[in-house]
């Protein structure tokens, strides 16, 4: 005689349990979708780049599938590969993807070319979206880059990240009797005092200088464009830009480890985790790894702060990524159900509890569980990040980054810093060259200058 809850019976019970559990977790979704299994037989193709949050979503997919009946193929290649694929697919209005990541640097290009679906109607429709989805809970600074020129929302943010300054060996700074650098002048003073102490180089940064250098460009009173997104005339040859370039290149030349201009993000993180380099500016997702007791040798000496203030003020870099629906998708309603599940308060809360370090919902950022995980050796990474995002939303200085022609200028900035650090050109020559090349590239791209 078969025992109860064995074999098929037991599997069936477990399945029902998963559905009931998922429904209990996302009650609004189930109610708004008109009950479970609404999308039986639908296959959704989702693609993002590989990152912590998409990895969690991939683990939790059975929950969504059990809840809605839809089957999900979730593809998450590396960042550049994803962007190339998505750019090609979106530009051809293809239907290969139903949900995509709206990549920060491509957001204006993808949104304003009409390659994505506006989400406002889905959000307003009570049959498709429960009230507790609460779109206003997402940081305004994170929603801004997901909004088109038409004022409509095209992506729901899953990460809002800020560029912060870190010192992996702050003990050396304290030993020198100095505080965490607050200004660009302080930074040089501190680096002079600690550079090469105990064989620790002073400063290094990801060689994507179109991202890591720009806070300094702004801090010195310069900018990338005259007034993005309306006036895209490049302003890379101004005295302020040249001064910023000279200052920044000098940080790498005087205080950088050998081969500083070849460092990529993971190398920078590794160098700081091993205590080979003291200072950097990096995104909080990278910096949070310095608090990993299993791999970080600097967990007890690390300290974080906002990027330094210059003569013109403080301008931290921020980046936002969201989930959107391609214009060519044939399963838009089911795709919205997926986005809504993936970024519901329950799912993002669960992610934060699992250690996710860069949420875009205010309720998650303010939650005690998140705050407790983000305090590393006394530094509140989340607080610093939130202040940076608020600052960026107030000043609007990140608007340069989402214009469709920024990739062309971004590369000119990368080259300009490399040329100065490697001694091929002076700061003036390098930035004048970057200016001339940027103008040529922008004209070629059809930008009205």
């Amino acid at each position: 005689m078969p025992k109860p809850f064995q074999g098929r019976d037991r599997r069936g019970l477990l399945k029902t349990g998963v559905i009931l559990g998922a429904t209990a977790l996302v009650p609004g979704l189930a109610a708004a979708q008109g009950g479970a299994k609404r999308y039986s037989g639908v296959t959704l193709n989702v693609s993002t780049f590989s990152a912590a949050y998409p990895k969690l979503l991939q683990q939790w997919l059975p929950e969504f599938e059990a809840l809605t009946g839809a089957k999900v193929n979730f593809d998450a290649p590396s960042f550049p590969v994803y962007n190339q694929r998505a750019d090609l697919e979106l530009s051809t209005r293809g239907s290969a993807y139903d949900v995509v990541n709206v990549t920060f640097i491509y957001s204006s290009r993808w949104i304003n070319s009409g390659w994505l679906t506006p989400l406002d109607d889905y959000i307003r429709n009570a049959n498709l979206t429960p009230a507790d989805f609460d779109i206003d809970d997402f940081l305004p600074g994170a929603r801004a880059p997901e909004t088109g020129r038409d004022g409509r929302l095209y992506g729901i943010p899953w990460t809002a990240e800020a560029l912060l300054t870190a010192s992996s060996r702050f003990d050396l700074v304290e030993k020198a009797g100095l505080a965490f650098p607050d200004t660009t002048d302080d930074l040089v003073k501190v680096l002079r005092a600690v550079n090469k102490k105990e064989r620790v180089a002073g400063f290094v940064a990801d060689n994507h200088y179109g991202w890591t250098f720009v806070p300094y460009l702004h801090a010195f009173g310069g900018d990338v464009f005259r007034k993005a997104p309306d006036d895209l005339f490049p302003t890379l040859d101004t005295p302020e830009a040249i001064a910023a370039g000279e200052y920044y290149a000098n940080l790498l030349k005087e205080f950088g480890p050998d081969g500083a201009i070849t460092y990529q993000p993971d190398q920078v993180t590794q160098a700081l985790k091993l205590g080979r380099v003291n200072f950097t500016d990096a995104g909080q997702l990278h910096l949070a790894q310095l608090g990993d007791p299993a791999t970080s040798r600097t967990i007890d000496t690390v300290k974080f702060g906002m990027v330094p203030k210059g003569p013109a003020g403080r301008f931290p870099g921020t980046a936002v990524h969201g989930l959107g629906i391609p214009a060519g998708s044939r399963q838009k309603e089911a795709a919205w159900a997926f986005i809504q599940w993936a970024l519901s308060k329950e799912t993002t809360g669960k992610a934060v509890a699992a250690g996710y370090g860069s949420p875009a919902r205010r309720s998650d950022i303010d939650s005690p569980i998140f705050r407790s995980k983000q305090v590393i050796n006394g530094s509140d990474l989340a607080g610093l990040s939130l202040d940076s995002i608020d600052l960026a939303a107030r000043s609007g200085h990140m608007k340069y980054r989402t214009v469709s022609v920024y990739p062309q200028v971004d590369q000119q900035l990368n080259k300009a810093i490399e040329l100065i650090v490697s001694g091929q050109l002076s700061a003036r020559q390098a930035f004048q060259q970057a200016q001339a090349n940027s103008i040529a590239e922008l004209r070629r791209a059809g930008a009205a200058l």
């Binding site: 530009s91 050998d258 081969g259 201009i261 070849t262 080979r276 062309q408 490399e418």
Partner: protein, 302 residues
């Protein structure tokens, strides 16, 4: 006469059978080689860019990309970089491959083992080779830099210095591909008949004279084919540059292939990138034809 006619008829039948037998593979070959190449050339005549899909099939000014290339300093500089990289890496690969093949040409278990060991770099995936050299060229973690420092000869990062970055790429490329030349030359060396070598030895020829007058003429066609293969392949250099230098510092390692990649994948100028690829294709064809015309690949008839 009747016999001659039937023989010729048999020949025609034979050719026809060969053609029928080969036709499926010829059709597949045409589809997978010529069709993409034709698509590339067609695209190069359009202003296609992803942000403006209306340019996909526009042929109103088919030479616009090619005219622009003539005035694109970065493209012209990339050709110079490409030629430097190709010439230096092919020369080094041929020299090292030939030298090691001559040293390892013999019959012993040690030599056999050494021959196998030297083949390893060639069978590694290019991206793995790039990562190996990324470690080698990062002074903080590089065993090469640490050893040199311990010996009192500290060396600055080779890929961050504009004077050495291209050489560093050429060195890594040589490490990966010298086994190809070595393998081909070894095969050729083992085919050299013993008689002329023994005769020359009896006549008192030195080792250099043996190499110069017997071995080299014999292996020359193989060496030329190796150079040609490696030259063509050097135009496809990508993973090493992508991982090690990203075309920098500045533009000192930005080869034509990499510049085309940037135009297509960073800026979305697919028409322009296709024109760059087409120019490279024509360049490689012309180079191959020139090498063939020079007659170096034929055995010395003297």
């Amino acid at each position: 006469m009747a016999h001659a006619v039937s023989a010729s008829g048999w020949q025609i039948e034979r050719h026809r059978s060969f053609l029928i037998g080969l036709s499926p593979s010829l059709i597949v070959l045409l589809l997978i080689t010529l069709v993409p190449a034709a698509a590339l050339v067609m695209t190069s005549f359009t202003p296609l860019q992803l942000t403006d899909p209306s340019g996909t099939f526009r042929f109103d000014d088919p030479l616009v990309n090619y005219r622009q290339l003539l005035h694109d300093d970065r493209f012209l500089a990339s050709i110079a970089v490409q030629l430097k990289l190709s010439a230096s890496s092919v020369a080094m690969q041929t020299g090292v491959g030939l030298g090691l093949a001559l040293l390892l040409n013999g019959k012993s278990r040690v030599l056999e083992g050494a021959r196998t060991a030297f083949l390893i770099p060639m069978v590694l995936p290019p991206i793995v080779v790039a990562l190996i050299w990324k470690i080698m060229y990062t002074p903080d973690v590089s065993p090469m830099h640490r050893s040199l420092e311990a010996l009192g000869w500290p060396v600055r990062s080779l890929i961050a210095d504009p004077d050495t970055a291209l050489w560093a790429i050429a060195l890594a490329d040589t490490w990966q591909w010298f086994p190809f030349t070595m393998l081909m030359v070894l095969a050729s060396l083992q085919m050299i008949p013993d008689d002329p070598l023994e005769a020359a030895r009896l006549d008192g020829a030195s080792r250099w004279q043996l190499f110069r007058h017997i071995v080299l003429p014999y292996i020359r066609p193989v060496l030329v084919v190796c150079c040609l293969f490696r030259l063509i392949d050097s135009f496809k250099a990508f993973p090493l540059i992508y991982v090690l230098t990203n075309g920098g510092p500045g533009s000192v390692t930005e080869v034509t292939n990499y510049y085309g990649f940037i135009q297509a994948f960073n800026f979305s100028y697919w028409g322009y990138a296709s024109a760059i690829a087409t120019v490279m294709l024509v360049g490689v064809f012309v180079l191959s034809w020139l090498v063939g015309r020079m007659g170096w690949s034929e055995h010395d008839s003297r």
